[in-house]
Amino acid sequence: MKKLYESLSLTLAMMLMLASVALAQERVVTGTVADETGTGMPGVNVLVKGTPQGTVTDANGAFSISAAPEATLVFTFVGYKTTEMAVGDRTTINVAMDVDLTSLDEVVVTGYGVDKRREIAGALSIVKTKDLTVTPTGNVEQLLQGRVPGVTVIQNGQVGSTSQVRVRGFGSLGPAGSNNPLYIVDGVPTQDVSFLNPDDIETTTVLKDASSASIYGARAAAGVIVYTTKKAKKGAKLAVTYDGMFGFTKPGAGQDMMNPQDFMDWTWIAQRNTENANAAAAGVAPDYAKALAAFNHPQFKGGLTPVMPDYISVGGTSGVVGSVDLAAEQLKYNVDPRKGSAYQVTEANKSGTDWYDELTSTAPLHRQTLGFSGGGETHRFYIGLSATDQEGTMINQSFHRYAARVNSEFDILPNLRIGENLQFTYRSILGLQGDNGGSGVSDDENDYLQAFRMPSIIPVHDVFGGYAGTASKGFNNPRNPVANREGLDNNKAFETFGFGNLYLEWDIVPGLTFRTSIGGNYSSAFGLGYTRWQYENSENNSAFGFNQFQQYNFSWVFTNTATYKKVFGDHGVELLVGQEALNTGKGWGYGQGGQNPFSWDPNFVNMTQVTTTPPNSNQFLGVNFSSYFGQVKYVFKEKYIISGVVRRDGSSVFGANNRYGVFPAASVAWRVSSENFMQGLSWVSDLKIRGGIGEMGNSNSVPGANQYTLYGGNVGASSYDINGSNTSATVGYYRTRIGSADTKWETSVTSNIGIDGLFFDGKLDVVVDFWRKDTEDLLLQVPITAVVGPGATPPFVNIGKMRNQGIDIGITTKGNINPEWSYEVNLNGSFLENEITELPPGQTYITTINPGYRGINPIRNGLGQGISSFFGYRVEGLFANAEEVAASPTQSGAGAGRFRYADINGDGNISDADRTFIGSPIPTFTGGLNFTLKYANFDFVAYLYTSLGNEIFNVSKWFTDFYPSFQGAAISERVKGSWSPDNLGASIPVFESASNFSTNQQSSSFYVEDGSYLRLQNITLGYTLPSALLSKLKMTKLRIFASTNNVATITGYDGLDPSVGGAVDTQFGIDVGNAPLDKSFTFGLNLGF
């Protein structure tokens, strides 16, 4: 603790030292300022009260100032109580500063303004900027994970991928994005903050309940996250900062897959088990020799014992044992499909290819920010220049962001200010897998999955350097993932952003300020990509493809507010009225593809050189909002606080009937600790009870066309070769959308009761919120009868309800062990319950949300259940033998070693009606623990995150744990524990060919795993140079640090990483090929001049 302020203060100290003017006619008063541990405090402001005269303490806490005897010196320092000392006849004044234990005067950025923490009645949380800069990630929203109680962040390990941020549960049943919070950056609303550089951020506030967020009305229901970026104080001297972070990310191990020998042996075991089952069904004795002879694997032959080949392909001949005349073969070698059939020679990799290892490598990263800030009498500014380059651990994944931020403010008149916040950004994210900015990676069949489907006997390359793969027969259909990834080598894509606002503030009379701001975001995206003409796989792309796309998007917001703040004795009043108009983004996009250029040289290929297919193009106009809002707050004796807020929003997505919505909220707070009866409780430093209720809206899920019945079409959906040409098709038009003019806002009624407490002189800071969010008029695309045409999108209408409720807890304790040692422990935790409480009449689940994964349909959004719940048969065990099958309820495909499902309805027959809810991806508790320890100039931080009570549907097991799921593909090491007559307690069924209701065809609890985990996410060790040394170096700060991320994860989950997202809220928690969070190691330095 002791040294914490040093780094913060030195900038200020140096500036003020230089600025100080000795005034000789008064006597010189000297002294030292010490902190609560008795150590000298540098950088403390010392002012002669009522004058501009002042100084700051030096590195040892000493000061010297001229002052008259009647003067009073005022000592101020951020985080400490302001101390006043009358000079009198003293020439030496030593001051011991007290920590401002309450920090209650801390100013918190809220909706359209700032507020003192002391007077806040709503539920909001702030995140320290330093917490946002410790980890090397591209997207700042990922950094909120575990930092804010009530906020769930689901992320994956792909660099630059979008995280799913959920504030207080889920409110909406719409598509991806409908539960995304609203982000406000310097007053400009946006749905995407990935352009922000963490080092540029000054404040982060999460508005969680209606009292705090309803000021954003119709867009607030999913929570509001308010960012402001840096701007110096007026009068601050030029300060230059440099923050650099360098390091690398190291891929972890993949899943354990069988080595070639085991793979071969288990293929044989599968055949024997299959013969057992077939023979039992036919009532004869198994004949393994006959069965294996009939099977006759292309590589391992058909004997009672498999034969390990030396070559898995010699010009297409499989299972070659012995040596090969490579020189002769090389003459026939061909891997250019344009020249004819591929001719390859591929050696068996008997030691086994670790495909995951081949696919990943240690990846460098760096982030550097150069900051310039300062100001004069009438202006202040911040300029931030930053560069982030981060390679992914998977081949050809990368994130690059270069940003320039310029924030400034000028006083035109003493009461008139003009300012701007602007950022220009270049960003390139390449190689992401999964929908929605990579957040859907886990439920994609992708190259992560391919790594666990490629048998280890296949090498990456054939003997002459081409790609090897399942073109060597007997290994079914995985595609060489290294080839897939290397095929992305020449892909390019980037976006440019111009984001910011321009504002004018006019203090009309003291306390009354008018502010007008116009802001927006212009973004454009360009990209081009190539697809390989494959030859190495059993199933190949059969052409060389080239595509390109471009898009631009422009959104704007125009905001006018007037605020009035006045204190009349014991009465404090704050008023805010405002008007806002905005458009969420208009623009157009264009994309085109083509095939088979004469040459594949990327310098040659362009759209002119390929056979093109018709382009895609779309223009969009965005959604317009027109809003008015107001807020009143009354504070009596800083003890009783009443606040009310109302916002009226109009949105173009709704028809004229229901276009406007009004969202009110009210809150009260009582600072109990200010009451007389509490004064005896000295351990209570401050205690506030808050309560609030209000409404917030959401229309994120509603597309702009929702109110219209429309016709449309495109080549894929509705074209026909009406003239019989064989080579062209005319687009027809059909009803693509059924409109609803009556749809209105989805409303969440939120109630919140919170307690803010500071105890033991501020050593313990506790914030607890009990909250409930009832979403009414739930916007739901009601499943409708197929007879009116499933091709028409039904409208979102207001049917249904959902309840989210929970408890958010934040506990901070800090203190000093002795003058050298100090600590701070911060614990954030949230409990969450989510339930769909009402659906359209008669409907018990949303029939239209039924995602399938190779025939497994794991999700049901059902009444009385949490969203995205897992649904299927409950596995009670594996049948021990035919007798048990006979004694059990009738079940299609039942057999020894196969799944025995629970007969839920007890009718003696296992059927659709026996499916039940078998898990939920929603964690019941998430939390973060941040532990800081300081010793002298060293600081040590450890950060842990946990997610408890959530389940994962690990459908990747379908591919790796069942023989008939593309037999010949790789087999998980787990299968060694599969059922056999000698291993009746197994959980993995007998390894055999049959694919039926009782084996791998149905969604069942077999795939459901506990997804709870505890992750040590960050450890940082830093060292700050002592201030004495810094002064000599003419520096204000020099800190070096070393850090490691994603250090260790404790989980029982079988997949690569328990942090499993998915494409959308109503279907997540499914793992087909998740991108794990890898360990990274960084070091860096923070410099200040």
């Binding site: 016709y711 080579t727 029939t847």
Partner: protein, 591 residues
């Protein structure tokens, strides 16, 4: 700009943002709009990528009919496994696809009819009639697929939309009268051809409507009504009493001289094409290029064969055996007792390479065979179109699971690669070969059935012999070098046909041989069993029972323990449709 925005924000129109990239109904109400609307209806006929919604019915008609099995691996697209095992579940995605794809077709047709009703003033009555007739034809097709797939499903026409309570329409009425009404209207109002001054030879004409109506009559065993139409459709050259029907591009109905030319993209819209789905390659979407067949290709062919993936839809042993001839005629079941045709016995069975590696020696069957075998089934040692000799196991994904054969109809030729084949998607198996929903051979064979029942069995024989005469044309044999690839021996039937079961079996079996793999068989078996009308019989049970008894031991992984039961003639209605509103839809028996 700030002031501008404020003005903008305050005006009422600020919150009126029009939709983009779409049209409202009024923009489609002119003749040009109607044309685009009917194109969308035609477009939907192939299911638009919903494989199970296509009229090819490769799962519903062929696999369930015992002509083919799912093929591939046991676990691949395993949602088809319960279908080929007659263990349907109401929650199956494939069943839902069949249902929803056809209702999308119905809905699109209804949308056109609504647009016609609201047509702009410049649309002539003649134009309205043409669009109405086309839409009703296509709607009838959608309901026909639903009726034979699911029996009773809700009937909605253009007067019933969502707001009118479409979700409350029960499935308590037979669809067949409605189908007949639509097709009768289409027959009465569609043009003779779509040649100039009309345009669009991909459209349906009056003859197609007559043919479809006749087919619908046949489904209900209304032989007299059907025969009357067949007499109109069959030209004099084939024994009909009149000039006969014509294709939309003006060709008088006839059989394409060479059997293989029916399935050749470059020969599309031939004289046999009564109604075909117009497939096209390289249009920008493979949905125009027979997407329902994208899995049904030899496996692991590399550049040496077509498609490359995924070994679905492999013909059965039983189907292969069916092509055995003796003295040029098939080895028929005698039509009495158990279904036990001689082709499944002993040396009559088609010799195959099951269990053999491609490098192992194999001599193809030397016995007498119907030449259509090698146009329908890819088998070891016989040229696979213009690619190469079929190599057997090397092109089979999982021989123990699915047998030694691959499908061959609707495969593209090496010479058509890249031009009449589409490489723009994940696999090359997309083609421009029109899928013939009704071809003239189908009409002749149905007409033969009708003649047996209500006409002249000897005339039936001449119809069947036209089919066989085309098949026996040596110019159409698959050749290996200068000689036929196998011992093709086929003759026409001699005189002496009577109205009896043995004769019926001849026509039925000819249908099996001629139309194998084209999606008809299961429905034909049901039709011959009176499932859709007429006198009920156990024909389908006997035939499929025999098929499974023969086939299951050969492919135990796929078929062991399989039985066909009385409740398997119709699919269950999709559970998700029933669950939308309890009490509206009645599930089929047994589910």
């Amino acid at each position: 700009m700030a002031i501008l925005s404020m003005v903008y924000a305050c005006s009422d129109s600020f919150l009126d943002v029009p939709p983009t990239g779409s049209l409202n109904e009024s923009l489609l109400s002119g003749a040009l709009g109607l044309e685009r609307s009917i194109i969308a209806v035609y477009s939907q006929v192939n299911g638009r990528g919903q494989r199970m919604g296509s009229p090819s019915n490769w799962v519903w008609g062929s696999i369930r009919g015992g002509e083919a099995n799912k093929g591939t691996d046991p676990g691949d697209f395993s949602d088809i496994n319960p279908i080929q095992r007659y263990e349907y579940q109401s929650t199956q995605g494939v069943i839902n696809e069949k249902y929803t794809a056809n209702y999308e077709l119905v809905a699109r047709a209804n949308a056109t009819l609504k647009l016609v009703a609201a047509a702009a003033a410049d649309v002539t009555p003649e134009q309205k009639t043409l669009y109405t007739a086309q839409a009703r034809f296509l709607r009838a097709h959608g309901y026909f697929e639903l009726a034979r797939g699911f029996d009773k499903t809700p009937y909605v026409d253009e007067t019933v939309d969502l707001k009118d309570g479409a979700g409350d329409v029960p499935n308590d009425q037979s669809l067949w009268p409605k189908i007949e009404e639509d097709l009768s209207f289409a027959y009465a109002n569609l043009p003779d051809t779509w040649l100039a001054p009309l345009s669009g030879i991909g459209k349906v004409n009056k003859w197609a409507a007559a043919a479809y109506l006749a087919k619908v009559y046949m489904y209900q065993n209304k032989f007299a009504e059907a025969k009357a139409l067949f007499d109109v459709l069959i030209p004099t050259t084939y024994g009909g009493p009149g000039a006969g029907g014509k294709t939309s591009n003006g060709k008088t109905y006839g059989l394409v001289p060479l059997y293989a030319s029916i399935f050749k993209a470059s020969n599309d819209n031939h004289e046999e094409s009564v109604w075909a789905y117009q497939a096209a390659a390289n249009t920008g979407s493979v949905n125009n290029a027979n997407p329902e067949f994208d899995l049904n290709w030899p496996y692991n062919t590399g550049a040496d064969g077509p498609g490359n993936c995924c070994s679905f839809f492999q013909p059965t042993f039983e189907m292969g055996n069916s092509f055995r001839t003796a003295g040029g005629l098939p080895l028929l079941d005698d039509g009495s007792g158990a279904y036990d045709p001689a082709y499944n016995v002993g040396a009559n069975q088609l010799k195959n390479d099951q269990g053999l590696e491609s490098k192992d020696a194999f001599t193809p069957d030397a016995g007498e065979l119907d030449p259509r075998l090698d146009h329908s089934i890819g088998r070891r040692g016989i040229p696979y179109l213009d690619w190469q000799d079929f190599p057997g196991k090397a092109w089979i994904r999982n021989q123990p699971n699915a047998g030694p054969y691959q499908t061959k109809k609707y495969a593209y030729y090496k010479s058509d690669k890249g031009s009449l084949q589409d490489n723009t998607s994940w696999t090359p198996g997309y083609t421009a070969i029109n899928y013939t929903i009704i071809r003239f051979a189908d009409i002749l064979l149905m007409a033969a059935e009708a003649e047996i029942e209500v006409g002249d069995p000897e005339k039936a024989r001449t119809y069947v012999n036209h089919i066989r005469t085309r098949a026996l044309n040596p110019a159409g044999f698959v050749m290996k070098g200068a000689v036929p690839a196998a011992n093709y021996v086929i003759t026409t039937y001699p005189a002496g046909w009577a109205k009896d079961n043995a004769t019926r079996e001849k026509v039925r079996f000819e249908r099996k041989l001629e139309l194998s793999g084209e999606g008809h068989r299961f429905y034909d078996l049901c039709r011959w069993s009176g499932v859709y009308g007429g006198t009920p019989s156990d024909y389908v049970e006997r035939v499929l029972g025999a098929y499974l008894a023969y086939e299951s031991p050969k492919l135990p992984i796929a078929l062991s323990g399989t039985a066909y039961g009385a409740n398997d003639k119709f699919l269950p209605l999709p559970q998700s449709q029933i669950d939308l509103k309890p009490g509206v839809l009645t599930q089929n028996p047994g589910f």
